[in-house]
Amino acid sequence: MASKKILIPLHENDVAPRFDLATEVLIVTGLEKSGSGDKRMVVLPRASADQLCHLIITENIQTVICSGIEDDYYQYLTWKRIEVIDSVVGSSNSALKRYFEGELKPGDIL
């Protein structure tokens, strides 16, 4: 079973409303379907969409689950073959659960 590396920008325990304003992110390395995996919190020195994109690339993230993201960054990440599920509103746990169930879609309100 393939392992996935997912990043979620956080605002407290929720998916951060804005990708560019998030100062902490949750990186999850887990197995598809099973939902088991490692969770790691990364605190960013400052909110910056560019730095976050850099982190996503260097960490070899495969999927980003976020809420509001500017089109430029969305296009950049998808061009880099990173799956971006945006406009997700709800807690990070619910988002992850639904993602591993294979049911998370852009625009989902959890």
Binding site: R18, L21, S67, G68, I109
Partner: protein, 493 residues
């Protein structure tokens, strides 16, 4: 009938969102006691063109109007009961929530920021948050208005880039001053008189004023007062009835009528005959037009913009222009400076026309050689911007490579120009230097005429260049061909 009280209450809003019976409750929120029967609050909000959201005390969304739904991209079902920050997705919500600033004593709070909508667009917004109070003055929630200020930002950008206003290019202080006043001038409905030499851009400014005004959706009618004979001009301006004169086979509306709810631009107003000046004056006073041959007038709502290259004050004192008409047109006076006084604009305009015209003409010409640039920067431009544009267009058409060189410029630019004499004279040593005064202007001796001075200039340049014609031509600022032609003319061998 139930008596209407002075307190109109919004039912089902306020307190904790958990106090509400369910999601449908907010949607069916009512305003009580405003009319005889309760009215639907959300429907009332939907009629308003500014985004509005009502928040509970915990800043959870209770109701949002249609404008805000369109702005954010979220629908009614999605946002109910969620934190405002997750739906609005504004930078303000996360760091400087205006609702949090509000306390029992404070009034509305207004902050500018941005939001990212579901279409992933970053939209500049202005949020105004006001407290909702119960009858005892206790805060029970918040009413926030969210304005899309993209248009305002665009206008700000236009103002800050003062060297380009609606295709009028310039960064000289004179033009910047004009760009700054144009937007506010456009918003007024007063008559405008634009003065300036030929080719300074009077027509463009008139059109810009029209397009930036509230009349932009109306027509822009232009008439050249100097282009038509008196009788024809009267018919053209005011229209005529069938049979008013020989050849008037049908009713014809005048330009004033055609410009109704728009702008009438009268160019070369200085050439308007005195008889028509009176008729125009009557229209400006009464706003009523009487077509030729008609006893029935009609009212026209028209803004007048007039332009001329003539000195109207002088014409008034000469009795060729009516003083009262000048006063009526001269409500707002806009004088466009000649290009020779717009320091720094020649280079900017050269680059601008080089880029736009080479694209239009399908050429790859993008640069000017140093000598060509020197000639163009020192030329006097009696025809102003129009002449400069024509020179660039000519050079692009004649040129066959990526750079415009001296040989591609119109030959008249290389002709000696009386205004260029100081520079030419300064390059020359005695004996001509001795007849240049302190200001650098070359003064001819009483017994000398221009051909004599020019001949001596050529001779002196040739002497200094040791007989080399190329060097002599360069020192005179001429092309070699011009020097050769003039040497032939003066019989210098």
């Amino acid at each position: 009938m139930e008596k209407v009280t002075s307190h109109h209450t919004i039912a089902n809003i306020g307190g904790s969102i958990r106090d509400l019976a369910g999601r449908d409750v907010a949607i069916s929120s009512r305003i009580n006691n405003l009319f005889d029967i309760p009215i639907d609050f959300s429907e009332l909000l939907d009629e308003i063109a500014i985004g509005i959201v009502v928040l509970s005390l915990e800043r959870k969304i209770v109701v949002m109007n249609q404008t805000l739904k369109a702005l954010t991209g979220f629908s009614q079902k999605e946002f109910f009961g969620f934190d405002c920050a997750h739906i609005l997705r504004s930078n303000i919500c996360l760091h400087d929530c205006p609702a949090l600033r509000i306390n029992e004593k404070s009034g509305p709070q207004c902050i500018e920021g941005n939001l990212i909508n579901k279409e992933r667009q970053l939209i500049p917004i202005r949020i105004t948050s006001a407290p909702l109070r119960d009858l005892d003055g206790k805060i029970i929630g918040f009413l926030e208005t969210v304005e899309d200020i993209r248009l305002l930002r665009k206008l700000d950008d236009t103002a800050s880039h003062a060297y380009n206003f609606n295709n009028i290019v310039g960064r000289s202080p004179q033009m910047q001053k004009i760009f700054q006043i144009l937007p506010s001038l456009a918003q007024s409905d007063s008559s405008v008189l634009i003065t300036g030499e030929t080719g300074t851009g009077k027509d463009m400014v008139a059109e810009t004023i029209h397009h930036a005004s509230n009349r932009a959706k109306g027509p822009f009618a232009k008439i050249n007062c100097g282009a038509l004979p008196d009788t024809l001009l009267e018919s053209e301006l005011f229209g005529h009835r069938k049979g008013a004169f020989t050849g008037a086979v049908e009713n014809k509306p005048g330009r004033i009528q055609l410009a109704n709810n728009g702008t009438l631009y009268l160019t070369e107003i200085g050439d308007l005959p005195l008889s028509l000046q009176v008729k125009l004056l009557t229209f400006l006073d009464d706003k009523e037009v009487f077509p030729l041959g008609s006893i029935k007038g009609f009212t026209a709502d028209v803004r007048i913009i007039a332009a001329t290259h003539r000195n109207l004050e002088q014409m008034v004192s000469g009795g060729r222009f009516r003083k009262d008409l000048l006063f009526r047109l001269n409500v707002i006076r806009l004088h466009l400076p000649p290009l020779r006084d717009r320091h720094g604009d020649i280079q900017l305009l050269l680059d601008h026309f080089l880029n736009t015209l080479s694209t239009q003409l399908g050429k790859k010409t993008h640069t000017l050689s140093r000598n060509a640039l020197k000639i163009l920067l020192t030329y006097n431009y009696p025809g102003n911007v129009r002449e400069l544009k024509n020179i660039v267009e000519y050079a692009i058409n004649i040129g066959d490579d990526q750079q415009i060189r001296t040989r591609h410029l119109p030959s008249y630019l290389m002709e000696p120009d009386p205004f260029d004499i100081p520079e030419a004279a300064q390059q020359l040593a005695s004996p001509l230097a001795s007849i240049a005064d302190e200001s650098g202007f070359l003064r001819a001796q009483p017994d000398q005429n221009w051909p004599d001075v020019e001949k001596r200039m050529i001779m002196d340049a040739l002497i200094r260049a040791g007989g080399r014609k190329n060097k002599a031509a360069t020192s005179l600022g001429w092309a070699r061909s011009t020097l050769w032609r003039k040497m032939n003319q003066y019989g210098i061998r």
